[in-house]
Each structure stands twice: as C-alpha cells, then as structure tokens.
C-alpha cells in the first residue's frame, strides 16, 4: 500500500515537473523527475518483504487491581530478505504502560528471531483483552508497506484488590462461635483424630494406622472428628446508583474490594462462601470452598457492572429458601435509593439470619468529589441550599444506620479512603 508520504512525493514530483514546464524552470523539472525516479525505485523495495511470524504470551490470565501484566513477543523473519517492521499491540484504554512499549520499530534480518516485552498496569477491575496486533512491514523510507492484523486476542481478568484483614470477620449467632471448620465431637469426615476401630471392607488403605497394626497384629483404621462448615452468603449491590462517582472511587468499586477481601478471609478459614451480585439481574456463585471458589467469586466480582435497580427485598426473598437458617449474610451496599430495605432486613432477621452490612458512604464520596462544593460564582442563596442538602443527606444516612443497628444488624459505616479493616471495625461494634 502507498503511504501518505509516497502519495505526497508522487504529487509533488508530478507537480514540479509540470510546473517547470509551464515556468520553463529546469530546477523544478529535474527535482520533480528525480523525486519520481526515487519513488519508482522504492516501489521495488517491498517486492521481497520479510515474512514475519508473531508469538505473544502473557505472564498471567488474572491480575489484581494495580497489578502488573507482562506481555512478551517473539518475532521471526522467515523471509529471504530483511526489512523494517513496525508492531503495535492494542491495549485496553484503562491500561498504563509501566515498562517497555506496546509499539516497536525494528529491522529484522533474514531468519532473525527477536523478543521483546512490555508491562502494563490496570487500575480498574474487569475483563479485558490484549490485541489485536497490527504488523506493518515497510521500506526504509516509509513509502510503501504491507499491513497485517493478527486477530489473536489475549483475554485477562483484573480482580478487585484483596486487603489482608487482621481479625476474625464474624461472630455468628449459631451454630458456631467462630467461622471456619469446627469439630462437633462426632465421627465423620475431618482432620482431627477421634478414635481407632477395626478395619471394615470398603475402608480406604490411607486410613489404616500402621503403628496400631504393628502393635495389635490386626488391621486398624483411624476415625476422625466430623467438622462443620459455615455457609456464608455475600450480597453485592451492583445497581446503577452504586456506580455514581469517579471510575475508581465509587460505592461499587469499594464494595467489590471489600467483598473480595472478605471472601478471601472467609475461604481461608475453610468456610463455604457464596456470592450474589444484584443489579439489573442476579448473578450467583453457589456455595463452595477453596482456591477455586475464590477464583469464581473474584471472576464474578470482576464482571460486576453498575446497572439496573433490582430491589434488595426481591433478592432476599429468592435467596432465603436455599440457605440454612442462621447462616450469616453479608451485604455490601451503600444503602442508597432502595425503599425495600426495611422489608428486606425484617424478612431476613425474623427468620433468624445473622445480617452484616458493609456500607461505603456515598455521601462522603460525593463530598470528596466536590459535588457539594459551591463554585466561586455561586450565589449565597444557592450556597446555603447546598449546605442544607449536604446536611440533610448526612442526617438521612445516619438515621438509616441507627435504625438498622437498633434491629440487631451489624453495620459498618465505611468512609472512602479507609482500609477495609476499618469497615470491619464498624461491623464488630
């Protein structure tokens, strides 16, 4: 293909040659003809352009917010001649380059293999992809080129940042005092030793206590103490209203970080943890344990988008029949614009569920973003109204929090900029 420079050079050459004719200017003619000759010769340069193959790999398929993703390229020229190669790898607009570059220009000799890497940092959770790659093989003078779009995309997910929580999250009502696997003094599956018994057909050889066999001369197996697992549901408010604020600081982002930190802590304590994200619809991650479950939860959190206005009462109504009575439910919500909150909490509390709420303060977020700050040209009257609106909003939120706490809800009023641990301090109060 012709580049803009080639087109300009051809136009300029032709114009000069013809102008020289009109003006009887030998200099114009000679410059024009030399330009056209140069262009003509350059058009032969890309007859034997290099044949370049590209291999791209990423350091991981999942990173956390502000985490770094390394992208490596390996290029190989399989052509007979060398040539100038330009590569541009598309990265998400949210990504920041922290090392190297997603654009490179190099000269590839025949059969030469070249590697290069660059590192990006993505500050926002979500699902992204790297690519496609645009490869341009061109002559030395940028006059003619061939372009290829490698459609290969490298998908990756950015999970919400997990903060280490320095204390136990829950003090549940029943059946246990502490979360996590608890021995309940009866024989069953577990890790704690309970007693010895004779070997029975069907017992696994892994359970055989070989020391006891040596001592008694009979096959003996270990019995373990059954452990109970707490079922905990995390509810994430992803309604449209939770996305108000800046892209990185809004109630939804704060809730996602808190939910990820809580899920990590609870799963480490060997609990069964499930997640429901509600907004325009509900997305459910069923109860489960272990690293795989954490991955499922983080993937669902990365996918959460602020949209819709599904009321909490509907979500609670759908959820309660499927979880054991007394199980803790942790809600992550700014508690904004939902008239069904009292009904939803009443429903859960009257059926014996332990409710915990982690609530980022959207009023504080708005204040931080200067939503209530008057402009210099604002009149005194409007300033007074703004101040009143801010005060009223604060009072409404304080009333809601006080009311819910009086019902026995563990509610953490979480200020923007505070660590998740401080939200937890509110919960334990």
């Amino acid at each position: 293909m012709w580049s803009r420079k080639a087109t300009a050079l051809a136009g300029c050459g032709g114009f000069l040659a013809l102008s020289g004719l009109v003006l009887l200017n030998y200099l114009f003619i000679s410059v024009g003809i030399v330009m056209l000759s140069f262009l003509f010769l350059a058009s032969f340069l890309n007859l034997w352009m290099p044949r370049v193959t590209i291999e791209r790999t990423t350091s991981s398929q999942n990173i956390f917010e502000e985490g770094e993703l390394e992208i490596s390229f390996r290029l190989r020229n399989r052509g007979l001649l060398g040539g100038f190669v330009e590569i541009y790898d598309e990265i998400p607009p949210q990504a920041r380059l922290v090392r190297g570059s997603n654009y490179t220009l190099l000269y590839l000799k025949r059969q030469q293999e070249v590697s290069f890497t660059y590192v990006v940092q993505v500050p926002l959770r979500g699902h992204y992809h790297i690519g496609p790659v645009r490869l341009r093989v061109k002559d030395a003078f940028d006059l003619f080129y061939t372009e290829r779009h490698e459609k290969t995309l490298e998908p990756f997910s950015v999970f919400p940042r997990i903060e280490a929580l320095d204390s136990e999250i829950l003090a549940g009502k029943n059946p246990k005092l502490y979360q996590g696997a608890m021995p309940i003094y009866s024989v069953g599956e577990g890790t704690q030793f309970y007693s010895l018994r004779d070997f029975l057909p069907g017992d696994s050889l892994r359970k055989v206590n070989w020391k006891a066999v040596a001592r008694t001369g009979e096959l003996m197996v270990n019995e373990t103490e059954r452990e109970d697992i707490l079922d905990i549901f995390l509810l994430l408010d992803a309604r449209g209203v939770s996305g108000l604020g800046s892209p990185t600081d809004n109630p939804l982002e704060m809730c996602c970080r808190a939910a990820a930190s809580f899920a990590d802590q609870l799963l480490r304590s060997r609990n069964n943890v499930g997640l429901i994200v509600y907004g325009s619809r509900t997305t459910t991650v069923h109860l489960g344990r272990g690293e795989t479950q954490l991955h499922r939860i983080l993937t669902a959190l990365a996918d959460a988008k602020a949209e819709g206005e599904l009321p909490l009462k509907l979500v609670i109504q759908d959820l309660l029949p499927y979880i054991p009575s007394g199980s803790p439910i942790i809600l992550f919500s700014a508690l904004d614009n939902d008239d069904t909150l009292p009904d939803a909490f009443t429903l859960a509390l009257t059926r014996g569920y332990a409710l915990t709420v982690v609530s980022p303060s959207s009023i504080e977020l708005d204040t931080g973003l200067g939503r209530f700050a008057p402009r210099p040209e604002t009149s005194t009257e409007v300033r007074a109204k703004l101040a009143l609106a801010q005060k009223t909003a604060h009072m409404e939120r304080e009333n809601t929090i006080a009311e819910l706490r009086s019902w026995g809800v563990y509610l953490g009023d979480w200020k923007p900029g505070d660590a998740v641990n401080l939200a937890l301090a509110g919960v334990k109060r």
Binding site: L18, L21, V34, R99, S101
Partner: protein
C-alpha cells in the same frame, strides 16, 4: 550571602537537554539534516537568484538599494529558525524577558530608520538620497524574511521535531521558485544534484522525526529527564543504531540508483535526438524543456507498466 548562589542555575534558565537529546545518534541525525537543509537552500537560491525574483523587483520600487545575496538568506534563515527553537527552550520568566528584548530590538531595527526619516529633519534636507534609503530600509529587511522563511521553517522543524514546518519549508521553497523570472538551463549533473539535494533534505529531516518519535514513546508526556534504566537505554540505543545503520545503507544505495535513473531519464530526449533522424531529430520542442518532460513522462509510463508485472501484487486485508 554569596551573590553567586543567588544566580539561577543553567537548567533553570534553559532546557538544554532537549537540544542535546538523550541519544547522540539522534543529535547527529539532526545535525546532518541541518547540513542537508543548508545545502538544499544553497542549491535552490543559487539557481533561483534572488536578484531575478519578482519579490526583488517589487521591493526595489520602494527601496532601490535592495540588493539580496543568496548566502545571506540561507545562513540568516537557518539561524533565525534555530534561534526560534532555542527561544522555545527558554524557561519562564527568561523567555518572556527575551521576547520583550527581541520585539523591541526588531521594531527598532525595522522601523528605526523610518521614524528617523520623519523626525530628523536635517537628514531629509542635508542628504535626501540617504534619507530616502533609510526610510525604505525597513521594507528591505522585511523582504529578506520572505526569502529566508523556507530555511527558517526547515531549521525550526528539524530541531523542534515537527513535521508541519518541514512540509511548509518545502512549499515555501517552491513558492519562491515560482516567483523567479530568470531563465537558466543547467547541465545534467546540476539537475540531478538539485534533485538529490532536495530529496536528501526531505528524507533525513523526516527520518530524524521518525526516530525521535520512536524514542519519545518511552518518555511520558511532560516528563523531563530519563525514565529508562541504563540497561533499557542501552537496548533503545542499540535498536536505534541498528535501524539507523540499515536506513543509512538503504538511503545511500537508493540515492545512487536514483541519481543514475534520474540522470538517464533527464537525458532521454538528447539520446532520441542523437539516434533518430528526420522530423523527430529536427524537432525543436524535443530539444527543449518540453522534450525533457515529455520523454520523462513517457519513460515513467513504460516503467510503470513494467512494474505491474514485476513481483506479487500488494496484499489487501480483504484478500
């Protein structure tokens, strides 16, 4: 307190790092481009003698003593562009101070003689010719700017790393050529030399821009200093060396071939005249500039047809 300590440091007055750049190779390329610009300017004004320009004719109506010399414009224009670039490197408040001095100085230089002509009566009465000349001097100085503008823009574009001034410098050079009234046919060697000089300037100036842009991507906008580690700088430096080395070889070979092909094409009309007889050999037009252009266009047409059959066609995305 020691008064020297109160003097601003050099880096507080001028951003000299921009002038030197981070990579010596790029600085060398910019210097080389500047040399080519001066060469191109010299060739251009050597052919388009300012004495035979419509601009000069017009200027002499107001200022009969106007006597432009090609080398003055070339050197002066280049230095003016370079000075403009240096001015952009000056940091506040030094740039504003200098701007004030320059504006005042320029105004005095251009309009001082004109004002003196109107205010100093004794000059008018004692030496009317001198007075007339002084009154028109400002016009002569202004006219010089027109001739030197293409060089100034080219120089500014190379050092400020901007494509637009470089393009404008080419356009202005052509415009100055348009206003040339003299007729002059030079030798074949001269014609090819002009063409190669012009191409060399365009190619080197744009290559300097291209490689500067390649390096600039490693430095976020607005950042000063070097953000790359020594090892990373070494990698960029070696990539640059490889790119520029291969570019230089390609350029040398291509310009040599272009000189041969361009020279041959410019000579076709003479060969036709020599090796034919009758009406074609006797044709007056074939021996003139018309003949050169006509035979060149015919040659390009034939070469383009040949090119159609040489090698694979360009591949499109759709194919």
């Amino acid at each position: 307190m020691n008064w020297t300590a109160r003097l601003p440091r050099f880096e507080q007055v001028i951003d000299y790092r921009d002038l030197l750049g981070q990579y010596p190779l790029l600085l060398a390329l910019r210097v080389l481009s500047s040399v080519c610009l001066l060469w191109m300017g010299t060739l251009w004004f050597e052919f388009h003698d300012p004495q035979q320009s419509l601009i000069t004719e017009y200027a002499r109506d107001y200022y009969p003593a106007f006597d432009p010399a090609a080398h003055d414009f070339v050197i002066g224009g280049f230095l003016a562009g370079f000075a403009l670039y240096l001015f952009t490197l000056l940091l506040r408040p030094w740039n504003r101070l200098l701007l004030l001095v320059v504006v005042a100085g320029t105004a005095l230089y251009f309009f001082g003689p004109y004002i003196a002509y109107h205010t100093e009566d004794y000059v008018r009465y004692a030496n009317p010719l001198l007075a007339q000349e002084r009154a028109g001097l400002w016009f002569g100085h202004t006219t010089m700017l027109v001739f030197g503008s293409s060089l100034a823009l080219g120089s500014y574009g190379i050092w400020q790393r901007r494509a637009m001034p470089i393009t404008l410098s080419v356009i202005l050079a052509i415009a100055v050529g348009y206003l040339h009234t003299g007729e002059r046919v030079t030798t074949l060697e001269g014609g090819v030399r002009y063409g190669i000089g012009f191409l060399l300037y365009i190619e080197l100036a744009l290559a300097a821009l291209k490689y500067e842009n390649y390096v600039l991507q490693f430095q976020p906008a607005g950042a000063t200093g070097n953000l790359l580690s020594t090892d990373e700088r070494g990698v960029v430096q070696s990539t640059l060396a490889s790119l520029m080395g291969h570019y230089g070889v390609h350029l040398a070979i291509m310009l040599s071939l272009t000189a041969l092909l361009g020279g041959a094409i410019l000579e076709i009309n003479i060969w036709i005249t020599n090796y034919t007889t009758g009406r074609i050999a006797d044709s007056f037009e074939l021996d003139s500039l018309y003949g050169i252009v006509f035979t060149a266009m015919a040659a390009f047409l034939l070469l383009a047809v040949l090119r159609m059959f040489a090698g694979p066609d360009y591949e499109l995305d759709e194919s």
